[in-house]
Symmetry: C2
DNA sequence: TCGATTTTGTTCTCACGTTCACAAGCTCCT
DNA sequence: AGGAGCTTGTGAACGTGAGAACAAAATCGA
């Protein structure tokens, strides 16, 4: 505890038992690669094999794994099953996490039907929507329940992860309700920036942002020097249809 | 060309007219924030206003925008409409990009119905699936067509972006066909690592990876020191059901 | 016209992430 | 037993990204 001040500047301040965020984001990829190897009956794999399967280079993979401990054998490689278990444990998917999905539109439907929810470790305990027309509908072996039941469900099932698949409009309110009910991790598919208090983790998945990033690079490829000629002032007149009331920064 | 060697070490080697990847990933967020401000009738906004709306800090926002040029006015802020146009142009969404979606399962359905496809700038020109039972089905104002028509469609509509929403199995083959047909940007929802030749951009959206990242942090919160006790060798015996044929690195 | 005030654009520094390269350590063969 | 041959784990160099801080430039009021 009091040794906190004695942290020497030697290594890049490897946080106490903390794994770099970039590494955390790759662990699930390694986990999937290991599962695939295991399913093929491969018992041992080198960092090179694993790296290829995971789509990264082997030095990065070895460094990532080194944050978890020394689970390999020099001159041999990694035991697939053993490493798989260690990574699963580190991520936390050896236990089950209860998940609620809020907003049963097209996307909510798709996620609800996602067989096995991608990977084991997650259990959908409720599908919620505020639309009375949707409540009661059966999806797979689940039934859509009223959003008003949120608090009871979160408490009863110890739900720690919420998935928001509502439109942008109600997303912040849904988020607030989730947090108030005790959910501490949120996966947001709505195209808005949600604000949450400290201690709540939030991740965002945004189709249109991904497409726009692709478009940027695409433009660089085909266009190269054929950019739209940098119009210093395009047809701005007439584009601003809105009255611009109260426009501005301060008042 | 020959000036390549004369690159001085002054700034962090700001790539020739190249925008840092981290900045590119944020530009769509700024674009959305600007659109929201514009819709509210705000005509001018400071970097602080914009940063709040976009969920970043203002220094980062200003630095990001500085890569595009000097589009603000000191002491005043940014003209919302003007900046919005400049960012849209830089990203490339002032033109229309033709998109095909391959794999019309639950997720493909959801994306096909996604009204306006999130943001303007993208036009779905075809929904493709290899399943004869799906071909012909109407979704919105589109009809599912046979995957075999891919090449013809890509050529006819100058499709540069492909979205893969198939299961993991056929994803790599679909990807290869897309690339062979001339698609140079791919958005992959299938839970596999796709390999593509140089010059083809690929981005991945993976629900189960996102959930696992959340689970990792969640475990840190509640568990803290209550990790599953680091079993050095768990119930490994019996877990490896598979014959382990040809298992190993070399042969 | 001039100074006060505001806000941008940029520089500098630090932290993080990636990659290289190699010593340490394991297995296998003789 | 001992050396040859691999493969891991890690130290060090390098590149990218984030944030603080400040000079430059614009507006506004007197």
């Amino acid at each position: 505890m009091t040794r906190a001040s004695s942290r020497r500047p030697g290594p890049p301040t490897r946080t106490e038992r903390g794994i770099p965020e970039a590494t955390v984001a790759r662990l699930p990829v390694y986990l999937r690669a290991l599962t695939a190897l295991s399913d093929s009956g491969i018992a041992t794999a080198s960092s090179e094999d694993l790296a290829t399967a995971a789509g990264v280079n082997s030095a990065k993979l070895r460094k990532d794994l080194s944050y978890l401990g020394s689970y390999g054998t020099r001159g041999v490689g990694y035991d697939v099953e053993y490493l798989r278990y260690q990574i699963a444990r580190e991520i936390g998917v050896t236990q089950d996490w209860a998940v609620v999905i809020v907003g049963i539109g097209n996307l909510g439907h798709a996620l609800a039907n996602y067989s096995g929810f991608g990977t084991r470790g997650f259990r959908i305990v409720a599908l919620l929507d505020a639309d009375p027309n949707l409540v009661g509908e059966r999806i797979g072996d689940m039934e859509v329940r009223d959003f008003a039941e949120l608090e009871a469900i979160v408490k009863a099932d110890r739900v720690s992860i919420g998935v928001i698949t509502t439109p942008a409009g109600p997303a912040q309110e849904v988020c607030d309700r989730l947090v108030a009910a005790g959910v501490t991790s949120i996966l947001n598919f709505a195209p808005v920036v949600l604000s949450v208090p400290d201690g709540v983790d939030i991740r965002k998945v945004d189709l249109s942002i991904e497409l726009q990033i692709l478009a940027y690079h695409e433009q660089r490829k085909s266009g190269e020097a054929a950019l739209p000629e940098v119009p210093e002032l395009p047809a701005m007149n007439g584009l601003t249809d809105l009255p611009s009331v109260g426009g501005g920064v301060g008042a």
